[in-house]
């Protein structure tokens, strides 16, 4: 089977709509097909990755810890747009830490999140075979 480059584009905040959770579900399903998967977080999508989410008060499932499990499914590329963070008063320190073990580097622990510029995000998008938008 030939490997294709898949990009999941996340542009919605969590909890207010179902988009963020549905994207995560599709990523988990797609992970079974051993494709080259990347996730993009831009616009309100950057809010999905904030640390310390506590949904007890609103009675819905907190799905943010699931992002930390994606490394086990070889989903290790989280591209986060710098301009989107800045427009929303956020910095990388506001995001949860997401690590993966690099099998090509003696299983060294490495960060999955890569902060990139809007121009670099455009390059990431242009480099894909399939783009799925949420």
């Amino acid at each position: 089977m030939t490997t294709k480059k898949f990009l999941y584009v996340n542009r919605k905040a969590p909890y207010g709509t179902i988009y963020a959770l549905e994207s995560l579900e599709v990523v988990l399903i797609g992970a079974a097909f051993e494709q080259d998967v990347s996730l993009a977080f831009l616009d309100d999508g950057v809010f999905q990755l904030t640390r310390g989410q506590n949904t007890e008060g609103i009675g819905v499932k907190n799905f943010s810890p699931t992002f930390r499990a994606l490394g086990d499914y070889d989903v290790t590329k989280f591209f986060v747009e710098k301009e989107s963070l800045e427009e929303r008063g956020l910095s990388e320190d506001d995001l949860q830490q997401i690590m993966y073990e690099d099998e090509d580097d003696d299983w060294a622990e490495k960060p999955s999140i890569r902060i990139i510029s809007r121009a670099e995000m455009a390059d990431v998008m242009a480099d894909q075979d399939v783009v799925l938008s949420f």
Binding site: G16, T50, E56, V60, E87, R88
Partner: protein
């Protein structure tokens, strides 16, 4: 005769908050709920527009929605105060009508 305005959309995704701010009168209250709570954040591209009306208009965010999104009261614009569900009920009871900005 005061109105409670509720805003449930992210101000970065729609013009809803800006429209609400433009129509809320002095003495009214605005309560940001659901994705609307992002409108209360300090240091954003929209903070100034919100801060300019805070005071003349009472501006609140729903604490439970803030916590769900990994944010806390320390991140809010000065003059924007969190309230709980009980505070939401009080605001509805204190005002003459509620207008939802969907």
């Amino acid at each position: 005769m005061a109105t409670l305005h509720t805003v449930n959309k992210s101000p970065f995704a729609t013009q809803t908050l800006l429209s609400c701010l433009g129509h809320a009168q002095d003495g009214d209250a605005i309560l940001m709920i659901e994705d609307g709570v992002y409108g209360g954040l300090a240091g954003t591209s929209l903070s100034e527009a919100v801060a300019a009306r805070a005071g003349a208009v009472r501006i609140h965010v729903l604490a439970e929605d803030l916590a769900a999104r990994g944010l806390n009261a320390g991140r809010l614009i000065e003059g924007v105060a969190p309230v709980g569900y009980d505070g939401f009920v009080d605001l509805v009871a204190e005002t003459d009508r509620t207008q939802s900005w969907l």
